[in-house]
Subunit: 150 residues, 2 copies
DNA sequence: GTTGATGCAAAAACTTTGCATCGTG
DNA sequence: CACGATGCAAAGTTTTTGCATCAAC
């Protein structure tokens, strides 16, 4: 764990990963990744929220750069892009320590329950390994109708 | 199976479901549902595609109504809304005969492999039943990096 | 005849892009 | 000091909404 400035902390070698792809380690990319590291896995933000959170921290980054950076960090495996029922995407830190959680969603009222399933995780691992893929993350959404709406 | 006009076929009691909610059975709603029934489960269309397909069939329905109808049919459990990597949502007929299929997706290049897993389906059934939900549909997405991109 | 649904066009929400400038490597 | 990244503003996409009119019940 390497301290780069008063508040930027690198938990993963972002710089070296970027370097391999001919990309550069910029203040903006660090700020975005650091924000997600500070809020921790399991919390998700929209692009707009990243923008305003950083503004609040006096670390303004333009919205265009935020969109570009979120896409990059997803492709590098740092963040997970999630589509919830709200409009737009949300992003969340990927972490080995934090188990993938799955969602049971009511199609009528949107009520959402989280659950975990080792069977599901195992099926994801198996599917990836059979096809020779390196597993990054899995998500399971179950659409249903909740007791209240039935 | 009830024939309503030369090309509209009702496979499910759309009218009665709508009626229960104080909603009306309109030509437009029938046209949209019928389109999905004709192409069958396993094929998905965007709102824009529904619009142009219907136009080709000389059954023009406005795009605004298509958006309103798609949302309604999803909430009534006739269609499944899917978010693939392209911009925008896609919609697909729900069917008990057609097993839910799952996706292994490369986060670098977008290559997608389909697979099926009874364990996953069973986990979805169990999660719904434990919480007292009526299962509609489940989808499992595994994000990974494919052999070519590794 | 009531009231919900439609069509249209305008607006909102979300995301991408062109280009001049900046800053990393 | 070259070339990738940023910021800005403009444009592109996708989806929603207000309102007058239409049609299902």
């Amino acid at each position: 764990m390497q301290v780069v400035s008063k508040y930027l902390v690198i938990r993963n070698p972002l710089g070296s990963g970027l370097h391999q792809e001919g990309k550069r380690l910029t203040k903006q990319r660090l700020k975005v990744l650091n924000l997600f590291e500070n809020i921790g896995p399991g919390n998700h933000l929209s692009a707009e929220e990243v923008h305003s959170e950083l503004k609040d921290l006096n670390s303004k980054v333009s919205l265009a750069t935020i969109y570009r950076t979120l896409r990059l960090l997803v492709q590098m495996g740092y963040l997970h892009e999630r589509e919830l029922s709200e409009g737009g995407h949300r992003y969340e830190l990927l972490s080995n320590d934090f188990p993938d959680h799955h969602h049971l969603i009511c199609i009528k009222c949107g009520r959402t329950e989280e659950f975990e399933s080792d069977q599901v995780l195992e099926a994801g691992r198996k599917a990836a390994s059979i096809k020779g893929f390196k597993l990054i993350e899995s998500s399971f959404k179950v659409k249903a109708i909740c007791p209240n709406c039935l």
